[in-house]
């Protein structure tokens, strides 16, 4: 680390920058904030949306979609593997289903905001083989502008998740399940 590099970079930036221009105000473009739109877009990028008839239906619904899940992790029901911020990597590696609550759904692109506070462990949403996110349908907004407007504080870590992990790095062939979760199910209630 070099203090002089810091000073040199800042000095050169100040000396070479152009005349100041205005920072524009970004308007709210409106848009369609419906569960139908959200569902259509998320489905088109490989996610699955299932309507939950109230949170009481969570257990039976999961049982139906993932009958073979053994190593589950979730704050929403007594899961098989207790996970917290200190859970070691080798235990995380064996989790096959994580069920977490998420905060905001974005209808235009199927993205879902998942803050650190809801993750149990920062790595859990990507290392689990399958990911289920539970979303209150009243939290669906139209665009990313509206989503960020609802996120005044980001916390230490958080992410938008839009579908399962995927890649097209081999000949542009789409493959679902690159390194992160192989599937994403959103349970809307």
């Amino acid at each position: 680390m070099s203090t002089s590099s810091r000073d040199r970079i800042l000095a050169a930036t100040q000396a070479n920058k152009p005349a100041e221009t205005l920072l524009p105000t970004v308007p709210d473009f409106g848009g369609e904030a419906t569960p139908e739109r959200f569902t259509a877009v998320l489905t088109s990028i490989g996610g699955t949306v299932v309507w939950l008839d109230g949170l009481a239906q969570l257990g039976p619904t999961l049982q139906q979609i993932f009958p073979d899940a053994r190593n589950t992790a979730s704050p929403l029901f007594p899961a098989a593997i207790p996970v917290d911020a200190l859970t070691p990597n080798d235990i995380l590696a064996d989790i096959d289903l994580a069920v977490l609550t998420c905060e905001i759904g974005v209808a235009e692109n199927g993205a879902i905001w998942l803050p650190e506070a809801n993750m149990l462990h920062r790595a859990l949403p990507t290392i689990t083989q399958h990911l289920v996110l539970v979303l209150d349908h009243r939290r669906i907004v139209a665009t990313m502008h509206q989503a960020y407007a609802q996120l005044p504080s980001m916390g230490g870590y958080g992410k938008f998740v839009a579908g399962p992990s995927k890649t097209a790095d081999i000949e542009q062939s789409l493959v679902i399940g690159a390194h992160g979760a192989r599937s994403l199910v959103v349970l809307l209630y």
């Binding site: 970079i9 100040q14 000396a15 070479n16 995380l92 938008f160 839009a162």
Partner: protein, 466 residues
């Protein structure tokens, strides 16, 4: 060696060239569909352009705001004037941990700084974890595209590579099974990683956060399983406000691959308890580019790759023909800033059709800058003598109607009389290497016009009354 000579090598395999061309055009078409589905897309481009212009105009202040916010978040902030300092800082952080295993997600900056060979030379294992990057790392190649690093390879090539390095069955070329093999291989690397290095898509001045966008989830896995996260960023990655991400996240993936958004848009603000987060802020020629009024707009680039996918030259010459970390039109305006002599042929690897400018999500005037670099290179005597003198000659010729008419007469005759082998000899006429000259007309338009009867009346001029 110049771009044209390297492109010749790529063009030797005609089928592959055609595949490359069509595949990238397909990505361009996906981009169009995604863009047309957003009614306000052009307004978003304008907003993104203005936000980036504004950021560059106060960059020193935003850098300090970002640094202060990051420090308050408990993040270590480092400054690197050049590639060597960037590499040394990262090695030092790795050594302080006593670490030998590093996992890395996609970062064009670390490619630019040649970080991997540097760390490996110092005994550190570096594993690229983006699938495309892992493929080319096995093959000891450079990425040929900033978003699709292995787009120059066919699935059979990947199959051969994985057979050698991962023990997959010989001849296996199914993308699903090859990806699964990489998943298993890299999972072990993620779990064992001690330090994770990531790039940065956006750095938010007001919060001190860095935002990383991936489809595979490799950045999130690497960073969140390792004890230490190092994020490397150029000074131009800054944006002022969290809300500006609303604009850029709507543009990036649509422009890059035609997706509505990347699968993961991850915001790293503070380290997890008991862990460390470092941000390395790098200049490496960027402040110099900021000082070039004609070319500073290139610093607005958000690395979506749309200009490559649309470029008729890139699609038919391949990323390696540019021999620069960032290929394609944007690379051709960034590279002469770094080394004018070495990259002098790149601004000429363009038809100046302007398609790159049309698709750029932050409205960089790429083709205008390509044209301007040509002027700069000409002034600096960095263009081949044959090009320089033929341009001078043509300039004189086209400026004189008499000389132009005479040489036209001569050329029409010569083309008719001289043998094809001479008029199309590659040694004299580079234009005719893959093209036929047109059949020479008997006379020029001016000659024809002078032979026409003169009775054609000029239309009456309207009378102007005071």
């Amino acid at each position: 060696m110049n771009h044209a000579i390297r492109a010749d090598k790529f063009l030797l395999d005609a089928d592959r060239t055609t595949w490359h061309d069509e595949t990238l055009w397909f990505v361009r078409e996906k981009r169009d569909r995604a863009v047309y589905a957003v009614p306000e897309f052009q307004e978003l481009r304008e907003l993104a352009s203005q936000i980036k212009d504004h950021t560059l105009s106060r960059l020193d202040l935003y850098l300090q705001e970002f640094e202060a916010a990051a420090l308050a978040n408990g993040v270590h902030v480092h400054w690197a004037a050049d590639a060597a300092e960037h590499n040394a800082i990262i090695l030092e952080i790795v050594r302080q941990q006593g670490a030998t295993r590093v996992v890395k997600s996609k970062s064009m900056l670390t490619e630019e700084c040649h970080l991997n060979p540097y760390l490996i030379k110092h005994g550190i294992e570096v594993v690229d974890t983006d699938l495309g990057e892992r493929i080319i790392q096995f093959r000891d190649e450079a990425p040929s595209h900033i978003v699709l690093p292995a787009i120059h390879l066919k699935k059979e090539d990947v199959g051969d590579t994985f057979h050698t390095h991962l023990g997959t069955e010989k001849g296996e070329s199914d993308p699903q099974r090859l990806t699964e093999a990489a998943r298993q291989h890299l999972r072990a690397k993620f779990l064992a990683g001690q330090v994770a290095i990531s790039g940065v898509n956006f750095a938010v001045a007001e919060t001190g956060a860095v935002v990383v966008c991936t489809n595979e989830g490799n950045a999130d896995l690497g960073v969140n399983l390792a004890k230490v996260h190092i994020a490397a960023m150029g000074i131009e990655k800054l944006i002022p406000r969290l809300s500006d991400l609303g604009v850029f996240t709507r543009l990036l993936a649509r422009s890059a691959t035609g997706q509505p958004v990347t699968t993961y848009t991850s915001h790293f603000t503070k380290p997890a308890p008991g862990r460390e987060m470092h941000i390395v802020i790098v200049d490496n020629g960027r402040t110099q580019q900021l000082g070039r009024p004609d070319f500073r707009a290139s610093l607005k680039c958000i690395r979506c790759g749309a200009c490559m996918n649309t470029c008729p030259v890139y699609r038919r010459s391949g990323g390696h023909s540019y021999d620069f970390t960032v290929p394609g039109p944007i690379g051709a305006i960034l590279s002469p800033n770094i080394d004018m002599k070495k990259h002098s042929s790149l601004p000429f690897a363009s038809t100046l059709c302007g398609s790159c400018t049309d698709v750029c999500p932050v409205k960089i005037d790429i083709h205008t800058q390509l044209y301007k670099w040509r002027q700069v290179l000409g002034e600096a005597d960095e263009i081949p003598a044959s090009k320089k003198w033929s341009m001078k000659f043509m300039g004189r010729l086209l400026a004189s109607p008499k000389a132009f008419a005479l040489s036209g007469q001569f050329a029409r005759k010569a083309l008719r009389l001289l043998p094809h082998g001479l008029t199309h000899a590659n040694a004299f006429n580079a234009w005719a290497v893959a093209r036929e000259l047109p059949e020479p007309p008997k006379q020029s338009f001016r000659e024809w016009y002078q032979q026409q009867p003169q009775q054609i009346q000029q239309p009456a001029q309207p009378k102007v009354t005071a």
